[in-house]
């Protein structure tokens, strides 16, 4: 069939995708940009009809978002929290995946599900559950260990713990699946060469896992930048988490607590831009290295 004979058919098949994309991605993003360029202006007391109108303010909201010191300290907090989560979570995920894949492990199927299970617990429930474990009068941990889990410095670790607990299983599964797809004869060859299990893991498996590790890292970076559930759920329990602890919390606060949708829209676009820079930046840095074998 020549291209001209194909007619409209391909477009017909594409239509559902295009409609869904427009409705659920392009329109909301467009509306966010539209809102970010506007602001309400009230006159006088601002009461009653006609006292409030929406005006175009150009990039004022973006300028305000970029100049907001609270937002930048939010980024710093998330950077500290994120590096902790990334290293521990991905490290554990890799360790578990390698252990499950090693030939000698028993109860592999059970362990796999056990490690994955926390991922099935919704974030709010998981945070509440851990929150109760952190609270002095309710916690069995606090009976043994006299640490203030919700203190000004410890609270970051406590939150990271919740994220790690919930996230290890998912990342482990991605890495484990990749490991299972590696041809077994590679290991056999290594064994014939006299390599130990540990050597096989470090010299053969980890290099072959490169692309999967990059993938899970990018996912985790994006998720960490958008951290919201843990601090928001823990906030009522302690006075160490402010309403702008993370950048996304500031967006929520602006939109729904102080009723400024326009600033919220501008800040969310800034967050999206920073997420893009960080995740693509990371990809660029590791691309040559990680995909060399791929």
């Amino acid at each position: 069939m020549r291209p001209s004979q194909r007619g409209a058919w391909p477009y017909l098949f594409l239509t559902p995708a295009i409609v869904l994309f427009t409705l659920f991605l392009a329109v909301p993003i467009g509306y966010t940009v539209y809102l970010a360029l506007r602001r309400t202006k009230v006159s006088g007391l601002g009461l009653g009809r006609g006292a409030r109108r929406e005006v175009y303010v150009g990039f004022d909201n973006f300028a305000a978002a970029l100049a907001d010191a609270e937002l930048w300290s939010g980024w710093l907090r998330v950077l500290g929290y994120g590096s902790l989560v990334l290293v521990v979570m991905l490290g554990l995920a890799l360790l578990f995946a390698l252990m499950l894949d090693s030939a000698r492990v028993r109860l592999a199927r059970f362990s796999r599900i056990a490690i994955f299970l926390p991922y099935a617990v919704p974030g709010v429930a998981a945070t509440l559950l851990w929150g109760f474990l952190y609270l002095p009068s309710l916690s069995p941990i606090r009976d043994v260990l006299d640490v203030d889990f919700l203190g000004a410095t410890t609270v970051t670790y406590s939150m990271a713990n919740v994220a790690v607990w919930g996230g290890v299983g998912f990342n482990m599964l991605v890495l484990y699946t990749t490991l299972r797809a590696i041809p077994r004869d590679l290991y056999e060859a290594a064994r014939l060469d006299g390599a130990s299990e540990l050597q096989i893991a470090v010299r053969v498996k980890i290099p072959l896992l490169g692309p999967a590790i990059v993938l899970t890292t990018v996912f985790s970076i994006i998720a960490t930048i958008q951290v919201f559930t843990e601090p928001t759920t823990l906030r009522p329990l302690t006075n160490t988490i402010s309403s702008t602890w993370s950048p996304l919390m500031k967006v929520y606060r602006d939109a729904f607590v102080t009723g400024d949708l326009y600033s919220a829209a501008a800040t969310s676009i800034v967050i999206a831009a920073i997420s893009l820079v960080l995740s693509f930046g990371f990809l660029r840095v590791v691309r040559n290295h990680a995909f060399r074998e791929g």
Partner: protein
């Protein structure tokens, strides 16, 4: 690491909202369109009502039976600031409910967002049923009427009678005595506190500031006056600051599992709260039932009898509703009809705003069965309670309270600084929006 999933859920929710407000015009559901009384007098008017008061559906059922032409559907909401945010968002999206339960402090933001209707004509006949103070909360001192008062929350001092007796404490009449009692408690039981200062509950702090005589907002001519860091407020902040820093008072927030447990176990002896406290205590501290008693708030000067308000709400009609008259009719019935008010007290456990109803309350709340004069005390306190006009951006002020006092507790900085922070944040936000502010 669930933020990505949450983000997805938020995105879906946002899109759903967007889809319904694409044109910027109010989208009317088919029922709403049919329910225009002018165009179709034959069908019943259908109204939706957002409320968080318990058992409101039972009360509305009584109305629905008696008024086949105006059928109200209750949509149960989570209370507090979230409910206000949800209503404002729905109003902006063009699909708000016809009626909404509006806390007094949120009403000005609803008015400023042009989300609630002026009911001046519809409420002219019932104005006399409410005290001037409460009526002022729904008019903001203007000529318009933006809601019908439903309940009020005069503040009182709730205390553990049995433990007061055990430790030989007298019920404090002044705040100074309260401070001394706090120190005594620490000596008698190092694990117990007389009370706690919550950095999470701006409403409680607002009520205490009102008691001291604060006037955070006022309208003078065509301009707002913002005076959050006024002298009475600084006095209240400084007082609690000293007690917390000294260790005489705890700093755990209200309504947490920690707090529930302390109330239940007798490790917290008082709670300066509002008339609705029995409901909270009975569900959060069931073990201490019958051990609590109520007294007027301690005073700043001996012999005075002032109080403030924590909470309280009105029934407002959405500016976008096509059936304003019917909605106003229902709201009037709900808050002034004797039978309806009886139901509100019995089923929804509220302290009614209508003056007549306040004095006719009989049986005390079950949790306070040992205090037969509970409602008489409440009425006496209510008579001496002073409120103030709330501003158009209470959300900003309350958020500044939480962040400011959290930080002050954490870093040991003065509470008065946090109060100044509330003032600055509120004024900055109002200036940004273009409100006229009198200096």
């Amino acid at each position: 690491m669930r933020a990505n999933r949450l983000g997805a859920a938020l995105a879906v929710a946002l899109t759903a909202t967007l889809a319904s407000c694409g044109s910027g015009e109010p989208t009317e559901s088919p029922e709403a369109a049919q329910s225009r009384p002018a165009s179709s007098p034959q069908g019943p008017v259908k109204l939706t009502y957002w409320t968080w008061a318990p058992n409101m559906d039972k009360i509305v059922e009584v109305w629905n039976k008696a008024h086949p032409d105006i059928q109200v559907t209750v949509s149960k909401q989570a209370g507090g600031d979230d409910a206000a945010a949800k209503f404002l968002t729905a109003a902006k999206a063009g699909n708000p409910p016809d009626l909404v339960q509006a806390e007094y402090q949120h009403l000005p933001s609803f008015i400023a967002a042009d989300a609630v209707a002026d009911l001046k004509a519809e409420t002219a006949a019932i104005k006399g049923e409410f005290s001037e103070g409460l009526w002022g909360l729904v008019t903001l001192g203007t000529d318009a009427v933006y809601g019908i008062p439903q309940d009020s929350g005069p503040m009182m001092l709730f205390y553990r009678q049995d433990l007061f007796d055990e430790y030989g404490l007298a019920v404090p009449k002044t705040w100074q005595e309260y401070g001394e009692a706090a120190r005594t408690v620490r000596k008698k039981d190092p694990k117990a506190y007389l009370g706690t200062f919550s950095s999470k509950d701006p409403g409680a702090f607002t009520g205490l500031a009102q008691q001291a005589g604060a006037q955070w907002w006022s309208i003078s001519g065509e301009a707002w006056k913002v005076n959050i860091a006024d002298e009475p407020t600084q006095q209240v902040a400084g007082y609690w600051d000293a007690l917390v820093k000294e260790g005489a008072i705890d700093d755990m927030p209200y309504f947490t599992p920690e707090w529930n447990k302390a109330l239940n176990d007798g490790k917290l002896l008082t709670w300066p709260s509002a008339v609705w406290a029995p409901g909270v205590l009975s569900s959060n501290a069931p073990k201490a039932k019958g051990k609590w008693a109520v007294a007027p708030l301690p005073q700043w000067n001996a012999g005075e009898s002032f109080s403030g308000f924590w909470g309280g709400s009105s029934t407002a009609v959405s500016a976008r509703t096509p059936s304003k008259a019917a909605a106003a009719q229902f709201a009037t019935w709900l808050n002034t009809d004797p039978a309806a008010i009886d139901l509100l007290v019995e089923e929804a456990a509220i302290y009614p705003a209508a003056t007549k109803a306040q004095s006719s309350l009989g049986e005390p709340p079950e949790y306070f069965a040992n205090q037969p004069d509970f409602w008489q005390q409440a009425a006496a306190v209510s008579a001496g309670a002073r409120g103030f006009t709330f501003g158009p951006n209470v959300g900003v002020t309350y958020n500044a309270f939480k962040d400011g006092f959290d930080k002050a507790l954490q870093n040991g900085t003065p509470f008065t600084g946090a109060v100044q922070g509330m003032q600055d944040a509120t004024v900055a936000d109002m200036r940004k929006s273009g409100f006229t502010i009198a200096s």
